[in-house]
Amino acid sequence: MTAILIGLFALLIFMIVACLIAIETRDLLSAVVCVGAAGFGLALADLLLSAPDLALTQMVVEFICVVVLIRVVVTRQDHTHETPKDTFALAAVVLCLGLFLAACGFTFAALRPFGAPLFAGPEPTMAGQYVAHGLPDTGAVNYVTSILLDFRGYDTLGEATVIFVSIIGAYAVLRSVGRIGHASHK
């Protein structure tokens, strides 16, 4: 457990640093690469926390995201001047976010501690039932798959639909001609 905690915190700090660099750097290409690195860190964290399915998916998705984003960024010139807005507004934003984080710190004490979810306890849980019935009732030895495609297959239909919506949407947005006839002149 301790070894896992140390590894986890190292990965978390790596991710946080990578994200901070990504957000503050001026060069968009390095920003994209930094977020990719953070995603790679997340995939490692998945592996560390016994989620190989997630690690695999996160890794390949990461690859596609970074390729697409780099493709978008690399040939386009950017002249954004990140002049700091107004110090007061920025301070207010940071203060609000800090308050949110403090509220989380205060209220999270009631959550189940890390490493001891309800699932591990004696209480009956949704996941406990899925695991108990997974092999005999669905025949799949990968419990994540049996949940995804059998117990909660309806969610997966929804998820497949989300992907379908997004591609139809992207194609719709990329049409060269949107309106026919007289466009609404405003």
């Binding site: 695999l56 009732d137 669905t138 992907i163």
Partner: protein, 152 residues
């Protein structure tokens, strides 16, 4: 690499051949990730993304112009729609057999490829769907740029 594919020429013939071979291997790997999803880590989503990566590799190495000659704008959306329909059909077949999303096929022996009832079939449909979809998004953003409208 980016610049050449931008102008549409593609890379040298050696790179293209290697890329095609690589794409073949990636395709097989993706299919195995899809089909063994209920036995090992992976499944329709991860495998589908791998499948799309194979096609993306070919596009990146061959360049825009060559790809545009063989690929129609609508192809990815059609495969996407058909695979989504197949997945929905599995759910509706269950519906006919007694309940929406009922796993109506025999469950088989654990650890066999043909086990888990409809799960491998669902994985296959999702794999094709995700592969077509992601490739379609990439193609739309990188290859087509502006889609020509066609009134229906």
């Amino acid at each position: 690499m980016q610049a050449t594919s931008e102008s549409g020429g593609g890379l040298s013939p050696i790179v293209k051949t290697v890329a095609r071979w690589m794409a073949g291997f990636i395709l097989v790997f993706g299919l195995s990730v899809v089909l063994y999803g209920h036995l090992t880590p992976g499944g329709g989503f991860a495998g589908g993304v791998v499948l799309s990566a194979a096609f993306i590799l070919v596009v990146l190495s061959h360049g825009r112009r060559e790809v545009l000659q063989i690929l129609s704008e609508r192809a990815p959306t059609i495969y996407d729609g058909l695979a989504a329909l197949a997945f929905l059909l599995l759910a509706v077949l269950g519906y006919a057999a007694g309940g929406f999303f009922l796993n109506f096929l025999p469950k088989g022996q654990p650890f066999q490829l043909w086990s888990g009832g409809i799960i491998p079939l669902c994985n296959l449909a999702i794999g094709v769907k995700v592969g077509a979809c992601l490739f379609g998004v990439f193609a739309a953003l990188a290859v087509f740029r502006h889609l020509h409208q066609r009134s229906a």
